[in-house]
């Protein structure tokens, strides 16, 4: 098995080809386009499976990777060195897992979309965008350098723009899509700054070159605008993550993204777009570490996790709850990066992708069923739901499992990953005082998560139906291949044992065909930058040099720490696990009391905490700040002012004002002309001419022959002078 274009390229090329073909034929044969999208997605998934199998089951090495490049374009020699801009693939365990997740989720979402979008006017077009979106995400995962990451990053931005604005006849969709694109673009710009900083320093943006440069200290002693270059670039790149993964303070776009169709929300929130940001930070983790910004990252993550969770508390729109929960979970991931839980953050990325995809699709299933005949639209508002578990049992099961997972109940995937992040946060908090706040925020957010998720469950599926008419019009769910089966498949993967052998993700478990059982924590390791200094670039199509680092991985219960450290860590982790279990149940309990027992009134809480409640209602005033203050007052005001200056002042008065100078010059010269030249000179000449006129007019008889005689006389006199 050799990783060349034939093995890997189909993973991205198939969806991309589907996009290209569908873009042209979708108007003619939408059904065919849908089929093509799904089939290519499935094929791509198969290829991803194969890669996953090779990397995780067969090779089983944490240090194994494949790196192939070809020259995209070159600019000849610069300072004696060839300046090539390369493209290529970089595959390691993380990419392999992520590929599987992306293609898998995307496949499920594709299949679900055939159900969800079936009656839409632009059924086919939706799949065109889906294909491109998935292709872009796959490309991002396969990218070997930051530039190509940026290319796919932006491409995803474009796709999200298109998908959020999918219902373009709605004004709100336009606003939301533009908001999404622009907000992420803010991060992108900084990301590009970071790329440029790295590129111009080490002449390459390849991950392995960056790792090698970090190891060899190529960044040392360089500064940009007074900041060390490595910090500068780390911050810049992390700002990219902030934009893409909707972290504080650029989280505003994500809730609006639900303007798009629900499957598209699933794709954005779970598998593709937001994952990309976290993935980037994980890839660039050595840089973040070297730049010393992990604390900042942890704070950002903690604040995001907590803030989003609080906002989710009061949302009534089912999708909005899920959207804020996404932000909150992304906050956990970033928190994980900040506290050094590299493995756990990545695991949470995967687990979250699975259960969030499932949640969104379930929500989609619910929304799709609830058809309001008055407005001829679907209902997303939870206050109008209730008691739906009888009508849609399969969806209910799927959603319940996912809720358990996200709330961090034991035996579910969310518990494994989130618990490890919180454990590491606790560990950090115990060591460093500055890290207490993120850890505390993380734990509170866990509580809130459990609460609002169960609140959502109870409001939706339990109790009496609050909108009777709606309830009665809703059909009872039957098992169908493209509605509940995808949900149930995803539900299976919300169970924890797929990811970890133990309850806490740190024990051993039997796994069929795998020698060392705790595969996730064994194989996913943060890159050891020292190893990359020996690295040599491989040309596209050459055989792999994997043997260079190849070494079968084995499970290390201490994670490379000394025995004492490991013991301490284990201890703390156990405390964290217990704490989070308690917290999760506590959150469940509150929700139960409020919405099932109705013992505690939510209204009481909201009236008690009314300032905070208002802040939550307006989402902490971020939208107001950005749109009303910064954009409308600031930017547009400045624009209008500048445009007015440009055309109204500069152009009209200064440029056209040169006319005044001309006019003055014209007056002067006019005066001179009239008074001096004309009166004295010209009229004077005229007067003298008039004198001669009297003489000459007799000659001017109009008779040719007379002229001719004069001519002869003149000629003769001329001849006489000659002769």
């Amino acid at each position: 098995m050799d990783y060349t274009i034939g093995n890997i390229a189909p993973i991205i090329l198939l969806p991309f080809a589907a996009f290209v073909i569908n873009a042209f034929i979708v108007k003619k044969v939408p059904k065919f386009a849908v089929g093509l999208g799904c089939i290519t997605m499935f094929a791509s998934f198969c290829y991803a499976c194969r890669v996953f199998k090779d990397f995780v089951f067969v090779t089983y090495s944490a240090d194994y990777y494949v790196h192939k490049v070809f020259t995209w374009f070159d600019l000849g020699l610069i300072n004696g060195k060839p300046f090539n801009v390369d493209m290529g693939i970089y595959l390691d365990n993380m990419s392999a897992v992520l590929l599987l997740m992306v293609t898998g989720c995307a496949l499920i979402i594709h299949i679900f979309s055939t159900f969800y979008m079936e009656h839409d006017a632009r059924f086919g077009s939706f799949f065109v965008y889906l294909s491109l979106f998935t292709a872009a995400m796959i490309g991002l995962v396969l990218s070997e350098n930051l530039l190509s990451v940026f290319v796919f990053w932006e491409l995803m931005g474009f796709c999200s723009y298109s998908l959020i604005g999918f219902y373009y006849e709605k004004e709100g969709a336009g606003n939301a899509s533009m908001k999404a694109f622009m907000t992420t673009r803010v991060g992108d710009v900084f990301f590009l700054v970071g790329i440029l900083a790295i590129w111009s320093t080490i002449g390459s943006t390849s991950f392995v070159d960056i790792y090698a440069a970090i190891a060899s200290g190529a960044f040392n002693d360089l500064t940009v605008v007074g900041i060390p270059l490595v910090t500068f670039s780390a911050i810049s790149i992390f700002l990219g993550t902030i934009g893409k993964s909707a972290q504080f303070p650029l989280q505003v776009w994500l809730p609006d993204a639900m303007w798009g169709p629900t499957p598209c929300s699933a794709l954005i929130h779970a598998a593709t777009m937001v994952a990309a940001g976290v993935y980037l930070s994980l890839r660039m983790y050595p840089l973040m570490e070297a730049g010393g910004i992990t604390t900042v990252i942890a704070y950002i993550g903690g604040i995001t996790a907590f803030g989003a969770a609080t906002i989710a508390l009061i949302q009534t729109d089912i999708k909005a709850v899920l959207a804020y929960s996404t932000i909150s979970q992304l906050g956990y991931m970033v928190l994980g990066i900040g506290v050094g839980a590299y493995n756990a953050a990545f695991m949470h990325l995967i687990t979250h992708a699975v259960f969030k995809a499932c949640l969104f699709l379930s929500a989609g299933s619910v929304i799709h069923s609830l058809h309001d005949h008055h407005t001829d639209g679907h209902v997303q508002e939870m206050p109008r739901m209730g008691g739906l578990r009888k009508k849609m049992p399969f969806t209910f099961i799927a959603m319940l499992c996912c809720t358990f997972a996200i709330a961090g109940f034991p035996f579910f995937s969310g518990f494994v990953s989130k618990d490890r992040i919180l454990g590491d946060a606790l560990l950090q908090a115990l060591d460093h005082k500055t890290m207490i706040a993120p850890a505390v925020l993380g734990f509170i957010a866990a509580l809130l998560t459990a609460f609002y998720m169960f609140r959502m469950m109870f409001l939706t599926f339990y109790g009496e139906p609050r909108d009777k008419e709606l309830y009665e019009h809703t059909d009872v769910e039957t098992l169908s291949w493209n509605r509940n089966v995808p949900l149930l498949i995803l539900t299976v993967f919300t169970l924890g044992f797929w990811y970890s052998g133990s309850l806490t993700g740190q024990g051993l478990v039997k796994f069929p065909g795998v020698e060392h059982k705790e595969w996730f924590s064994t194989l996913i390791k943060k890159p050891d930058v020292e190893k990359f200094t020996k690295y040599k670039r491989e040309a596209w199509g050459s055989t792999d040099s994997r043997d260079q680092f190849f070494e079968k991985a084995h499970y290390d219960a201490n994670h490379g720490m000394t025995e004492a450290q490991a013991h301490h860590a284990h201890h703390v982790h156990h405390i964290g696990a217990i704490m989070s279990i308690i917290i999760a149940f506590f959150g469940f309990f509150i929700a139960y009391m409020m919405y099932i027992k109705k013992a505690w009134s939510p209204g009481w809480w909201s009236s008690k905490l009314s300032p905070w409640y208002r802040a939550l209602q307006s989402k902490y005033f971020f939208d107001d700040l950005y749109i009303k203050v910064i954009i409308q007052k600031g930017l547009l005001g400045m624009n209008n002012f500048l445009a007015w200056i440009d055309m109204g002042i500069y152009d009209r008065y200064i440029v056209d004002g040169t006319e005044v100078i001309n006019r003055f010059a014209y007056r002067v010269s006019n005066w001179f002309d009239n008074k001096i030249v004309d009166t004295v000179g010209v009229d004077g000449t005229g007067a003298s001419v008039r004198l001669f006129n009297v003489v000459l007019r007799t000659i001017q008889s109009g008779k040719i022959q007379f002229y001719f005689m004069i001519l002869v006389v003149v000629l003769v006199s001329y001849i006489w002078t000659l002769v």
Binding site: Q700, S701, G702, K703, I704, Q705, F708, M709, V712
Partner: protein
């Protein structure tokens, strides 16, 4: 007998005749006749000089061009005369005094 002076004499007579015609006659076409005579005398002079003095053909070329120009002049001149006649119903040269006004 065939010598340069005799040719010059002939051309001189042609020239003077042309001159007289041009000044004495009041008919525009008659004046054009005079012009033709003068042009011919010039051409003849060229031919004679080139034959007797230069002994090359440049004078011939010159005469040739004079003939060409005479033809063109006659065409345009007569056209003007006819146009003038259409307007004024006269080809008397003294009726063509618009330059005076």
């Amino acid at each position: 007998m065939i010598s340069l002076p005799s040719f010059l004499a002939i051309s001189f007579i042609l020239f003077v005749s042309g001159l007289v015609v041009m000044i004495a006659k009041k008919n525009i076409i008659a004046i054009l006749l005079g012009v033709e005579l003068i042009l011919n005398s010039a051409a003849l002079n060229f031919a004679a000089y080139t034959r007797f003095v230069n002994q090359n053909l440049d004078g011939h070329i010159m005469s040739l061009f004079i003939i060409i120009i005479a033809a063109a002049e006659a065409a345009v001149g007569l056209a003007i005369v006819i146009r003038f006649f259409q307007i004024r119903e006269s080809i008397h040269i003294d009726d063509a005094t618009q330059l005076l006004q």
